[in-house]
Symmetry: C2
Subunit: 217 residues, 2 copies
Amino acid sequence: MSTQKIPQATAKRLPIYYRYLKILNDAGKERVSSTELSDAVKVDSATIRRDFSYFGALGKRGYGYDVENLMKFFSKTLNQDHLTSVALIGVGNLGHALLNYNFHQNNNTRISAAFDVKEEIVGTIYSGIPVYQMDEMMEQIPLQQIEIAILTVPAQVAQDTVNKLVEAGVKGIMNFTPVRITVPKNVRVQNVDLTNELQTLIYFLDNYAGEEVSEEE
Amino acid sequence: MSTQKIPQATAKRLPIYYRYLKILNDAGKERVSSTELSDAVKVDSATIRRDFSYFGALGKRGYGYDVENLMKFFSKTLNQDHLTSVALIGVGNLGHALLNYNFHQNNNTRISAAFDVKEEIVGTIYSGIPVYQMDEMMEQIPLQQIEIAILTVPAQVAQDTVNKLVEAGVKGIMNFTPVRITVPKNVRVQNVDLTNELQTLIYFLDNYAGEEVSEEE
DNA sequence: TTAATGCTGTGAACATAAGCACAAGATTTG
DNA sequence: CAAATCTTGTGCTTATGTTCACAGCATTAA
């Protein structure tokens, strides 16, 4: 495709860079070096330079990087120049919080439809977002050109729901359930398992006490 | 310490294994092979065997693994035999959802104190958890023997809050803010950046269309 | 204009992780 | 009891990611 062969590890850091560049740009800063960036985003400066280099020579030797240019470049790279619509599946405890969560603020993304089984909320508008019946996914998802779903349903129905989502044409799923779901290989899953994360943190504390700084999602 | 040198990648998978073993055990299953596990947790069977092997020979050739034993072993390894108390810092939109989130269900962990600046909620009980003033961290955290904090405060105050948490003795932070916080090296940070996660997912869809299955937090 | 300085971009070393493939041993079957 | 079958545990290969260290060039200072 367009930009081939960007390592996954690099891709995962792009939003971090982008966010900080926006902050710098808003503050009126014109140039920045990999060392300065490194401090702010906690990524080794060599790693930053290597990451950037996959996209070509974005900086100038002896000078650094032009904040505005770089920011705009990443904006394009991360598709921030067009609004992405996302569906929320399951308006429970966590789902409800995500409806209110301001993805839009620094991310050209909006939850444009929510789906749930609970009759009493179907048909209503939650935080400005309409709640549909589960069965309506098949219709609404293609209609609203949604390719991404945030999954916050109970574990027991996770796989079934995913099957329907895939059938409706969803291409990416942010999976908040603890289930490791099965999808066709053209569908991308990003697991966000909070319980897991917490358990891992506890494990590290107890077993790697005082050893390193740390990382990632 | 106790079990030395478990690779990070392995450590991050332990809760996944543990969760599934509990399910198998509850279902009355007595033995399981790495291939079966592989199907359920979406981790290559060789990787599973390697992961387990760091803890010694847990299985039997020609048989597989004893579900109950293995489950109990991981329970101990993941400290599930004692309750871990956690503090929630920032009872906003997301924080509130996390108070209700059932960490306890399959994870011997409980949010035992919440902290916020909003006068109107300080002193009240939210979902059974008392909300304290921010200043009370210094007192409550050691008192309640809390070592882990979930950080859901606004980005602008993230670093300041972290500094106080560290001073109060916190050793692990689950960071929901987009800020890459600075901590002493004996403190562990687990970043959970939802905006980031979503942006990365979008990036992968647009640039790696139909290429692989996927992964992680 | 020339010298000093700064910072990128990258070859190469190192580190971590994943997975193949199979010997070794246990179990099950006949 | 012997043969057939199964599944672990691991040496080794390959893949992916990180970091060092520096040549090369642009910028800045004199």
